[in-house]
C-alpha cells in the first residue's frame, strides 16, 4: 500500500474513532446507570479499562513488529514498531492517570499496588527505555536494533511481571478490596464498556496508521534531501 493510501485509511479510522469516542462519552455520562457502591466516579472506568487494553495491544504489536524487524530487516517494520510503541505510551499514560484519580475517590488513596496498574507502570518504564535507547545512539540503525531488543524482552517479561505482582498482592492483601469489574456487570455497563473498547481500538489503529505514514514520509524526505545534497 502506498503511503498516501495508508494516510487516508489512518485519517478515516481516526475520525471514526473520535466520533465513536464521542458517543461513548455521551453514553458514559448520560446513558449508563450509576454504579451503586462507588457512585459517579466509577464512570472513569469506561476510559480506564479500554485505555489499558489498547496500551497492551499497542505494546504487543510493537514487540511483534520489533521481532519481525530483527528477522527481516525491513525499515517499514521498525517504523510500524515505533508507531505502535508511541501509541502504547499514550494509552498507558491515560490508564496510569485515570487509575489514581479513580482510586483517590473510590478508596481514598491515589496508588494501590493493584496488579494491572503496577504492570502497566512497569511497562511504561520498559518502553521509556525503548525510546531512550532509540534516540541515544550515534548510528540510528543500531538504535533501532537495540530498541527492538528492549521491546522483545519487555513483551516476554510481561507474563512474569503479571504473575509476580498478583502473587505479591496475595501475600499482602490491600486494605480495601473492591473489584471494579466483577463478572456480574449489569447489562448497560457492559454495553458501554464494549462500545468504549471498540472506540479506543479503532482510534488507536487510526493513530497508528497516521503515525506510520508520518514515519514513511519522514524517511522519504531524508532520502530525497540526501540525494539533493550529493
Amino acid at each position: 500500500m502506498s503511503t498516501k493510501k495508508i494516510l487516508l485509511a489512518g485519517t478515516m479510522l481516526a475520525m471514526i474513532g473520535l466520533v465513536w469516542l464521542g458517543v461513548v462519552y455521551w453514553m458514559s455520562f448520560f446513558w449508563v446507570s450509576t454504579e451503586v457502591t462507588q457512585g459517579i466516579a466509577q464512570r472513569i472506568f469506561y476510559v480506564h479499562v479500554p485505555a489499558a487494553w489498547t496500551s497492551f495491544l499497542a505494546f504487543g504489536l510493537a514487540a511483534l513488529f520489533s521481532g519481525m524487524y530483527l528477522w527481516l530487516r525491513d525499515e517499514r517494520l521498525d517504523r510500524a514498531a515505533v508507531s505502535a510503541a508511541e501509541g502504547g505510551m499514550v494509552f498507558a499514560t491515560i490508564m496510569l492517570t485515570t487509575g489514581p484519580l479513580w482510586g483517590k475517590i473510590a478508596w481514598g488513596t491515589y496508588w494501590t499496588w493493584e496488579p494491572r496498574l503496577t504492570l502497566t507502570l512497569l511497562l511504561w518504564f520498559i518502553f521509556l527505555g525503548y525510546f531512550l535507547v532509540r534516540s541515544s545512539t550515534e548510528n540510528p540503525e543500531k538504535g533501532k536494533r537495540h530498541a527492538a531488543v528492549v521491546a522483545i524482552v519487555g513483551a516476554l517479561d510481561i507474563p512474569f511481571i503479571h504473575l509476580s505482582v498478583i502473587w505479591f498482592r496475595s501475600l499482602h492483601p490491600a486494605p480495601v478490596v473492591i473489584k471494579p469489574e466483577g463478572p456480574t456487570l449489569p447489562g448497560d455497563m457492559l454495553t458501554t464498556l464494549l462500545m468504549s473498547l471498540g472506540a479506543f481500538t479503532v482510534l488507536f489503529l487510526g493513530l497508528f496508521l497516521l503515525r506510520y505514514s508520518l514515519e514513511n514520509l519522514r524517511s522519504e524526505l531524508d532520502t530525497r534531501s540526501r540525494h539533493a545534497s550529493v
Partner: protein
C-alpha cells in the same frame, strides 16, 4: 559442541583471570556492599524493627544496586584496546560470547551477593539458621536472572551516549519479578517457615532465570552486530 564449550571456557577464564589480576570490580562491589550496610545502620531505627523483618528487602535491594555497579563494567575491560572487536571477529558464535560473559558476571555477582548476606549476619546479627543452603540457592537463581538481563542490556547501554546511566532504566522494570519472588522466598526462610512454602517462588525464579538466559543468548547477536 566441544569446540563451543571450549570457546565459552576460554572467554570465561580470560575474564576471571583479568578480574583476579586487577580485582577492580570485586573491590568496588565489596566496598559498596559494606558501606551501604553501614549507612543502613544509621538509616534504620533498630529499636523498633528487628533485622529479620526488613533484612530480605534490604539484602535484595543491595544485591540489585551492587549488581548494577558490577555488571555495568562488563565491556569496559574489552573496550580498552578494542579487544571486543577481536572477539567478535573470531569464529566464536555470538551466543557463546554472551554465555561466557554472563557466566563471568555470575561469578563476580554471586561472590558479592554472598558477601551481602555475610555483612547482614555480621553487622545486624541476622539469624539465618538452617535455611542458609536454601537462601544461597534462591540468591543464585536471582543473580543468574540478573546477569542474564544485565549482560544483555549492558551491551545495549554501552552502545548509547547515555552509557551506564541508562542501565537501571532498562533492567529494573524487567527485574521486578526477581525482586518480588526473591524477597518473598527470603522472608519466608528468615521467618523460619518450612521450605515447601517457598517452593513456588523458587520455581518461578528458576523459570525466569532460564527464560532470561535463553533470551539473552538469542538477542545478543543483534546488539553486538555493528
Amino acid at each position: 559442541m566441544r569446540n563451543y564449550l571450549k570457546q565459552i571456557r576460554t572467554i570465561l577464564w580470560k575474564d576471571l583471570l583479568v578480574e583476579f589480576r586487577t580485582r577492580e570490580r570485586l573491590i568496588a562491589m565489596g566496598a559498596f556492599v559494606v558501606l551501604v550496610a553501614i549507612l543502613f545502620n544509621y538509616a534504620t531505627d533498630w529499636a523498633r524493627v528487628s533485622p529479620e523483618d526488613i533484612a530480605s528487602g534490604l539484602v535484595w535491594m543491595t544485591i540489585m544496586f551492587a549488581g548494577l555497579l558490577g555488571v555495568g563494567r562488563t565491556f569496559h575491560l574489552e573496550a580498552e584496546d578494542g579487544a571486543f572487536q577481536g572477539i567478535l571477529m573470531s569464529p566464536v558464535p555470538k551466543d557463546a560470547i554472551f554465555i561466557a560473559k554472563a557466566l563471568a558476571n555470575f561469578v563476580f555477582l554471586y561472590i558479592m551477593a554472598l558477601l551481602v548476606v555475610g555483612v547482614f549476619i555480621f553487622f545486624f546479627g541476622l539469624e539465618v539458621g538452617g535455611s542458609f543452603g536454601m537462601l544461597t540457592l534462591v540468591i543464585a537463581l536471582g543473580v543468574l536472572a540478573f546477569v542474564a538481563l544485565g549482560t544483555l542490556f549492558t551491551a545495549v547501554s554501552t552502545g548509547t551516549r547515555m552509557g551506564d546511566t541508562l542501565l537501571p532504566v532498562l533492567i529494573f522494570p524487567l527485574l521486578a519479578p526477581v525482586v518480588i519472588y526473591g524477597t518473598g522466598a527470603t522472608s519466608q526462610f528468615l521467618a523460619g517457615r518450612p521450605v515447601t512454602e517457598a517452593e513456588g517462588s523458587i520455581r518461578m525464579l528458576a523459570a525466569f532465570a532460564l527464560t532470561a538466559f535463553f533470551l539473552g543468548s538469542w538477542l545478543f547477536r543483534f546488539v553486538v552486530e555493528d
